[in-house]
């Protein structure tokens, strides 16, 4: 017997219980309980009659730095970090977006050098690029660029380099970051939780 059928049976029992109370019991409070039971049972039965769809989480991926062989591998990991741990997509869009609170990063890898991007991530107030001045109506929830290498985001150097690789690849530029630059872990590497491909695709769509 499936879970839905079991729940339907319970719902029917609750409705029956309420009906019996209303038919045979005169005490007012008990009658109200019977009435409430019928209403709740019917609600559950209606909810069980519509299509039953659960939302299952996508599989979690663990990233092992030792598996990274090419710059493209790095860009692929950088893309996942961009849309998950890095929280970049909370503010930045890739392509024009009405809701993005911060500059559109489309083509940023072609526009800025690798070192400049690294500095923008780790010391965001060092140089404010004037092309990004926002004109027009102020944004409702303005955001200030955080230090990506510090808490609460706290990306490691390897992760930042991967994000830069992604930004360059996304801009159609040759990736100037090489896997040999990655710091190899001394002890057991802590896996980096990455976002699912679904979120990435959706953010691309935005």
């Amino acid at each position: 017997m499936s879970e839905v059928v079991k729940l339907q049976l319970i719902g029917l029992c609750v409705v029956g219980f309420g009906t019996i109370i209303l038919l045979f019991i005169k005490a007012q409070f008990a009658r109200v309980i019977g009435f409430v039971s019928i209403v709740l049972g019917l609600f559950a039965l209606v909810a069980l009659a519509v299509p039953q769809m659960a939302s299952l989480p996508p599989a979690e991926e663990s990233i092992n730095i030792a598996d990274i062989k090419t710059p493209t591998d790095m860009a692929s990991i950088g893309q996942k970090i961009f849309f998950s741990k890095g929280q970049c997509a909370l503010c930045h869009s890739i392509g024009p977006s009405e809701s993005a609170r911060c500059p559109d990063l489309k083509g940023i890898g072609a526009k800025l050098s690798r070192d400049f991007i690294f500095e923008s991530l780790t010391d965001p107030q060092a140089y404010i690029y004037l092309d990004y001045r926002h004109e027009g109506i102020p944004k409702e929830y303005p955001a200030r660029m955080p230090y990506i290498n510090k808490n609460p985001i706290a990306l490691s150097k390897n992760e930042i380099l991967s994000v830069i690789a992604f930004l360059q690849q996304m801009s159609g530029e040759p990736i100037s970051v090489n896997p040999s630059e990655l710091d190899l872990p001394r002890a057991t590497p802590a896996p980096v939780k990455a976002a699912d491909a679904g979120s990435v695709a959706v953010a691309h769509a935005r």
């Binding site: 729940l7 007012q28 609600f43 989480p57 955001a143 660029m145 510090k150 939780k193």
Partner: protein, 627 residues
């Protein structure tokens, strides 16, 4: 004096009880948590514990139940002071002691629920720390300053509530009354802040913003000021008033059903009317606040909006339509019963408009409940050319649903105006012009809402959402803001032709009040599930992933069964609290009169026992009072 002292002591015990219980629960939780903690100690060297679970029921289900009960109680506790305070002001200004008595009765329910709310809040906190330590550590790191603010607010709220409740009789006259009303204001201000502080924690989970460097306070403030914080604050504030009003209405309905004296019937009939009025008053602007919230969600993250409205949660909105539809019908039905039973001779006069309103409401409900995609077999879908029905599919889109929801609000508003005007005759010279203006405004508004709704099919979604839907809402608000003051002005000089007779409602009116309360509670549980599920597999959307075994969102049927269970538990809890709170009154009433002897002519309002059906009683004159 001695009696008062005893009352204070007994109520003090009543408040102290939950504290002891809370300590007991904490100890119990500690015992339950011992095995897990031992395991956690063994694995300290590996990684900190991220999740704990509970056998059989599961950690998520337990947190779901406790959080839901806490939120419902909190909604009641924060909503009731608003209208208790307003009732007190009305009583003070008008000199009508009934309102003061009603305000005190509301506050009594509030006082007895307050401790239980805090108790469930404490249990919830322990459970969250125990089951989700990693998440709680993350949130604590961000929000710790606001935790301190919350504690401080709770202290001043509790002190103000003590003063407000225990000082009611001592501060009933002159400047004392003014100070008491000021206390009521403070109570509401603190309650509002108590609501919005935890809202920031929950809304940050749904719509986090990036946190730059800064002091702890600056970071907490940045996280607090997130895109859905204010829409949720406004939506919850109104919803709390609705919940409080309908629960007080249901309480009055149950007391009315079991009333044994005409005086009780009169009082609880009137209280039920006030409760329903408060509920409807809040219900009318609630869809607009909900619309604003949804709009902000779409603006923040389109994917989250799509998950809610077009993804796996889309069928939830059909259930929501059903619940809101029944709520609108129930509220209107209660008004219509009031017109036909409290105003003698009005049955025939109002039959036609009531029938017209009923038809409009049912048609609107049918459109609102039309799903976007029908459940169809492959053959049926092939016949239709997709899952959209060639005719009914037109009604399954947002343009149609926004239109009918606005029309339902308009009809309910007119129901209330009709009830307000019933039994009165206009005497003002400008009455005819005013009535023509009101009729014109209403007709034009209805037409404009429908035209915008139809036009909405032919424009891009962004134009419909940003301009057409907001215009529809604006039109309905304009109608309310025009007709309400005009009616009030007209009625100021109107002659009462038929007095309202209280205590003559049939028993089904009591059940209608209970039904309305159950619908509101179910709606809150349903939308709580929607808000939580819209985060899908994230604790903090896009920032902290849920890696537990409960990262999935359950299907609607399973969730609805839990919602129904939560609603039932909440109803039983509230019934118990109210029973305890009114135990003293019953004892006093029993001591004042012969036990178990109903007043002459009194009829228990069981099915069929209405005085309307059984003829007037000797004491029916007690019900003849102006509204």
């Amino acid at each position: 004096m001695t009696h008062q002292g005893r009352m204070v002591t007994s109520q003090g015990h009543q408040l102290a009880g939950p504290v002891a219980l809370l300590a007991g629960c904490a100890a119990l939780l500690g015992l339950v948590g011992i095995p897990d903690m031992a395991m956690a100690q063994e694995s300290v060297a590996q990684a900190p514990t991220a999740y704990r679970d509970l056998p059989l029921i599961g950690s998520r289900n337990l947190v779901w139940i406790i959080a839901q009960l806490h939120l419902l109680l909190a909604g009641f506790v924060l909503g009731v002071p608003i209208f208790a305070w307003l009732c007190e002001i009305v009583g003070w200004k008008s000199g009508d002691k009934r309102y003061d008595k009603l305000a005190k009765e509301f506050t009594k329910l509030l006082t007895s629920s307050y401790a239980t709310t805090a108790l469930f809040g404490g249990i919830l906190l322990f459970l969250l720390i125990g089951f989700y330590p990693k998440l709680m550590a993350y949130l604590t790191d961000i929000f710790f300053p606001s935790f301190l603010v919350y504690c401080a607010l709770f202290l001043v709220e509790t002190a103000t509530l003590y003063l407000y409740w225990y000082g009611w009789d001592a501060m009933s006259e002159g400047n004392g009354k003014k100070f008491h009303i000021f206390l009521g204001l403070l109570l509401n201000v603190f309650a509002f802040f108590i609501m919005i502080v935890p809202n920031s924690w929950a809304t940050f989970q749904a719509s986090p913003v990036v946190l730059a460097e800064g002091t702890d306070f600056e970071r907490a403030w940045a996280a607090t000021w997130n895109p859905t914080w204010w829409p949720v604050n406004v939506h919850r504030l109104i919803a709390n008033v609705v919940l409080g009003g309908y629960i007080c209405g249901a309480y009055a309905g149950i007391r009315y059903l079991s009333a044994r004296s005409q005086e009780e019937r009169y009082h609880y009939d009137w209280m039920g009317y006030v409760g329903n009025f408060i509920g409807v008053f809040g219900l009318l602007p609630l869809p607009f606040a909900g619309y604003w919230l949804m709009r902000e969600i779409y603006q923040y993250n389109q994917q989250m909006g799509i998950t809610l409205m077009g993804g796996f949660l889309s069928w939830l909105f059909i259930l929501q339509a059903m619940l809101i539809g029944v709520l609108f019908l129930g509220s209107n039905y209660y008004f219509w019963l009031g017109i036909t039973h409290r105003i003698p001779g009005s049955e025939t006069q109002y039959r036609k408009p009531i029938m017209a309103m009923l038809v409009i409401l049912l048609l609107c409900l049918a459109v609102w409940m039309t799903p976007h995609s029908l459940v169809a077999s492959l053959a049926e879908a092939q016949q239709m050319g997709g899952t959209h029905h060639p005719l009914l599919g037109v009604f399954g889109v947002m343009s149609a649903k926004m239109t009918v929801s606005n029309l339902m609000v308009l009809v309910t508003f007119m129901s209330f105006i009709m009830y307000w005007r019933a039994g009165k005759q206009d005497t003002a010279g400008w009455a005819k012009v005013a009535k023509a203006v009101m009729g014109g405004v209403l007709a034009l508004a209805g037409i404009a809402v429908i035209i915008l709704g139809v036009w909405g099919y032919f424009v891009p979604a962004i134009i419909r959402i940003n301009y057409f839907s907001t215009s529809q809402v604006g039109i309905v608000i304009f109608v309310m803001l025009t007709i309400t003051p005009l009616t009030a002005l007209l009625l100021k000089s109107a002659k009462t032709t038929t007095e309202m007779v209280w205590g003559r409602m049939p028993p089904r009116a009591g059940y209608a009040l209970v039904l309305n309360a159950v619908m509101v509670i179910l709606l809150m549980t349903l939308m709580g599930y929607a808000r939580s599920s819209s985060r899908v597999h994230w604790h903090v959307y896009g920032v902290m992933r849920d890696s537990s075994q409960y990262a999935f969102s359950p299907a609607l049927g399973y969730a609805a069964a839990l919602m129904a269970l939560n609603t039932f538990l909440f109803c039983m809890l509230v019934a118990f609290i109210f029973w305890v709170a009114t135990m003293g009154d019953k004892a006093k009433a029993a001591a004042a009169g012969p036990k178990g002897q109903p007043e002459p002519g009194a009829i228990p309002a069981m099915a069929g026992g209405s005085p309307t059906l059984d003829g007037p009683t000797d004491k029916s004159s007690i019900g003849h009072r102006p509204v």
